[in-house]
Amino acid sequence: MKRVPIQIAAFLLLTILVKAQAPPEETSTEKIPLSLSTYNINGVNPGLKIGADYPLKELIKQKVKRNNKTKTINKLWYLNGSMAFGIEPTSNTNWLTSLEIGRLRTRNHKWFASPTFGLGALVRFNNGETWEVKDGEVTNIGNTSRTYFAPNIGMTFGRNYSIKDFEFGVFGRGNGVLAVGMNNTKVPLFSFELGLRCAPPFTFTKSKHIIKKVTK
């Protein structure tokens, strides 16, 4: 029974991936965007996160308004791989590796928002020496950690900017991670990010499928 939610999540993820392979109407090639952000547990503790977005499919909706201005909405489905570490100074250092699926909605190429759902592994290191007691014998086992399966959700809000030819986005993001099995239950960990998202010249390129819809 415990595995049912995991199986459902995996099924949903695969369904989206399979759908993403449907014949495209158009393809476009672009650099894979990277993101670098702070990873602040409870909003105040130090940490860092890096991630890369792997585009799958994009829907572009354009609507010509009465004043002949065009409103453009981009909806991009993407996979995101990320690694984050966040410190709770006197107790734990957390290392989260996660694969997420998200939908990035951008309005007029400026403001964007993206919910994500991911599956990952959370390693919680004990800050400080750990002493193990077995059958009354005490042993200093040094620095140690425990690993938990960690489904997670996140919500990003941001804005794109352009300086000369260089485009980048500035974003804020809230995360909720569940450490499954910790203390015989599921324990949440909340964090906030402030970061930059851009496609520097050295990253890989990836083609994505584009469906365009123009309405008047």
């Binding site: 547990i41 409870n42 909003g43 105040v44 503790n45 709770e88 100074p89 006197t90 107790s91 734990n92 919680r124 004990n126 800050n127 400080g128 020496e129 750990t130 002493w131 193990e132 007691v133 009354g136 005490v138 086992i141 140690t144 425990r146 450490a179 099995g181 910790m182 203390n183 015989n184 239950t185 324990v187 949440p188 960990l189 909340f190």
Partner: protein, 345 residues
């Protein structure tokens, strides 16, 4: 060669510096036992060779909750204080089964913490300070096998070592002190309602829900007594804990603790009655209680003081305090603890 000698001396000086025990220690030590990793935050004067191990309340609380106020600051200036997060509470982590969330397993955890403290801070004497639920756990520890021999003394503060009796005595307290307060003209409406509610309860059939109500009413009545000057207000000085940057992550601690507390209740902690087993306690014992503690009535302190076999035993009931005398009368509270520790260290 000269440079090498200087370099060696510098490294030796740094090395020796690291080995030396700092007077004002701020250190986290983790204890791993039976699937759980539990942090013990050690603060204060380790040169004193005395460690006060704080066994926190709840269940569902955490150790650092007790690191606030003047009492903690004063205590840390004199001794090292070890704030332990029990299994499944505070920032503890680990993987274990539901069957491992019992008071018996937590007694083994407490023994593991004692063994680690004694090994890491070699030569130090450990005094156990158990408050509220920490009184239940430390009492169970003291009557289990020969575990009490690891402690130099037991300080039970408002400890719930007999929960069925606690509930009955609390109901009686609501009636008698409620009637006194009505007569004195204090908060008449609230007290009269409380007395009526207490009169309506069947003391031979106290359910878990009624136990929860007694606890909640006990907390509420403290506020009325403080407002009327019967009890001292809570201490606002000394160490101030940071909500988000302190030892404890509030969301992790709250959800983890709530779950552990529920499992402990399912596993029968509401029926723990240790009064008849306290005769096994032979180490020096100090019982500290607030006169107006409706959560754990002072009658439990009277029983414990009578029952233990210790030759050095003392009971102090603070006249202007409730469930947390370390907040209401911290100076008198610390004086009692320090006198006890000094004569037994």
């Amino acid at each position: 060669m000269r440079n090498l000698t200087i370099l060696t001396l510098v490294f030796l000086a740094i090395g020796c510096g690291r080995q030396a025990i700092k007077k004002n220690l701020d250190e986290t030590v983790w204890v791993r036992n039976q699937g759980a990793d539990m942090p013990v935050y050690v603060h204060g004067n380790v040169e004193s060779k005395v460690i006060v191990l704080v066994v926190h309340g709840g269940p569902g609380g955490n150790g650092p909750e007790y690191r606030s106020g003047n009492y903690a600051e004063d205590l840390e200036n004199r001794y090292a204080v070890a704030y332990w997060d029990q299994r499944g509470q505070g920032m503890s982590q680990g993987k274990y089964e539901t069957e491992d969330i019992t008071v018996e397993t937590m007694v083994e955890d407490m023994r593991a913490v004692m063994l680690v403290l004694k090994k890491k801070y070699d030569g130090s004497k450990v005094f156990v300070l158990g408050h509220s639920w920490g009184g239940t756990l430390s009492a169970k520890y003291m009557v289990t096998k020969d575990y009490q021999s690891l402690a130099a003394g037991w300080i039970e503060s408002n400890g719930a070592h007999d929960i069925p009796k606690l509930n009955k005595d609390a109901i009686q307290m609501f009636k008698t002190i409620g009637a006194e307060q009505v007569t004195a003209g204090n908060n008449i409406k609230n007290w009269q309602e409380t007395v009526d509610w207490a009169n309506s309860l069947d003391t031979n059939n106290i359910t878990i829900d009624i136990g929860g109500e007694i606890n909640a009413k006990g907390q509420a009545t403290s506020e009325w007594l403080k407002a009327d000057g019967v009890m001292n207000p809570s201490d606002k000085g000394g160490i101030q804990a940071s909500l988000l940057r302190g030892h404890t992550n509030p969301s992790t601690s709250a959800l983890s603790g709530r779950y552990t507390s529920a499992k402990l209740v399912e596993n029968g902690i509401e029926s723990i009655a240790l009064t008849s087993e306290l005769y096994r306690v032979t180490i020096p014992s100090l019982f500290l209680w607030g006169k107006y503690d409706f959560v754990v009535p002072p009658s439990l302190g009277v029983d414990a003081h009578r029952e233990v076999s210790s030759t050095d035993k003392e009971l102090i009931i603070f006249a202007k305090s409730g469930h947390s005398p370390m907040d209401n009368e911290w100076e008198a509270y610390n004086t009692a603890m320090i006198q006890f520790i000094e004569r037994n260290k």
